[in-house]
Symmetry: none
Subunit: 255 residues, 2 copies
Amino acid sequence: MQNDLPLARRDVIAGRLAAGQPVVAAELAAEFTVSEDAIRRDLRALAAEGRCRRVYGGALPLSPAAMPMSARMHSDMARKAALAEHAAQGIQPGELLFLDNGSTNLALVDALPEDQGLTIATNSVDIAAALLRRPELPLILLGGAVDPLVGGCVDASAVQAVSRMRIDRCFIGACAIEATSGVWASTLADATFKRALLAASRQRIVLAIQAKLAARAAHHVADWAGISQLILEHDTSPEQLTALAHAGAQTRLAS
Amino acid sequence: MQNDLPLARRDVIAGRLAAGQPVVAAELAAEFTVSEDAIRRDLRALAAEGRCRRVYGGALPLSPAAMPMSARMHSDMARKAALAEHAAQGIQPGELLFLDNGSTNLALVDALPEDQGLTIATNSVDIAAALLRRPELPLILLGGAVDPLVGGCVDASAVQAVSRMRIDRCFIGACAIEATSGVWASTLADATFKRALLAASRQRIVLAIQAKLAARAAHHVADWAGISQLILEHDTSPEQLTALAHAGAQTRLAS
DNA sequence: AAACAATGTGCATAAATGTGCATTTTTTTG
DNA sequence: CAAAAAAATGCACATTTATGCACATTGTTT
């Protein structure tokens, strides 16, 4: 990402600031392959124009935060990021991925590798919004009526659309997990969609933080025979793990 | 790529700028096999016509397409909110609204009235994300391949989907506005989608902040005969207003 | 047909701008 | 309070730009 236009670089930085994103001088210098002096001059100029606030080590946007969606509040973000990091390692170049609704899959967006020729599909509005910040990743969005509880499209048109796809690897969002029976969803439409998604996918991955094992949901999605891999946190209890293994789940632990 | 017509070269450069592409003086000189002086003269002339921004080493497009959607949505929010407030007053109960891509329409989300039985449709990821915070409003999301520059779906499937709808009131996002010619978009796909959206809608509204009148874009969407109402800021210059009125635009000023 | 103005082009020089480095000053952190 | 990191400052260097001028090409006039 090195354009020959110096002011273009300044515009890119200004754009990130305008998007509410804080910037670090050293990172920008490495990214644009210029010295930190040049970056500092840019930030100084932007601050003089009133387009950011200069701080030690970088610059902050004037109107802070705001951009992320309703899922920012969760302090589980660190846990989910660890799961996502582990899940991303299994991704192969050129794959068509599907990220189902769910805040855990949202964390996966930031863990997706670059320059692998990946294509991402999703039915989740929040995940699509997050993927807009990864413009190098081609994004296919499933349309339809948005279920406000789910935060994405799980209606008949979405089922039909996903049924016409051949997905290499899908990440199912689980509302609840039970060791004996598998994956569960909160709403009927969501469960129906997830089953269609599973049917269209070769590799079927589930990311689950601890809380999912304690949760309950009304509609069954799939048993462990239908799930290729269940990725859990490293501090999952041994009892749960043996129960899962006994039920036939292919589990892996994120470090 | 060496054509003997000097004007042709300038048009090619202007076309790239209008498409949102930055140009480097030295590269253009090599491409057209002329000296950098000639290129500089071209760029100077284009900048004087307001068709680009001259920078050290080349020129940058005036079009907002260069800035990602995430950056555009947080700039000039106060101005856009005023426009949105005014536009919301015209909405009738029970209508099916369509909010086209665009940061100005994003501000409209917070201005939509409650308990009016409205239904909202959009092809914009960010607008859909914002509407998740208004769960009482039924939301229909158009799917397809997401254009990262546009921030939403403007491909053939989106055109097809919108063509099958009967929309009561649509809010078109304008990348640029010209008093004599109407509404312009930055990319061909976006312009095509907007035309399909206009064709499917009864009331066709355009919200435009001041900057849109100074911007340039490459692809024509509609002239003023195709726009029901153009909502502008209260401090739009009288010259612009008379030019718009003379061209047949139905303008209204937000307070 | 010849002369003319108009325009675009390329090359010179001088001015302006951006960059990187060395040094000093300021801020943060332990 | 001391050490480390970051920022400001001054300066040398390279690149880009503006300006004036000579030259070629084109279209028009006489």
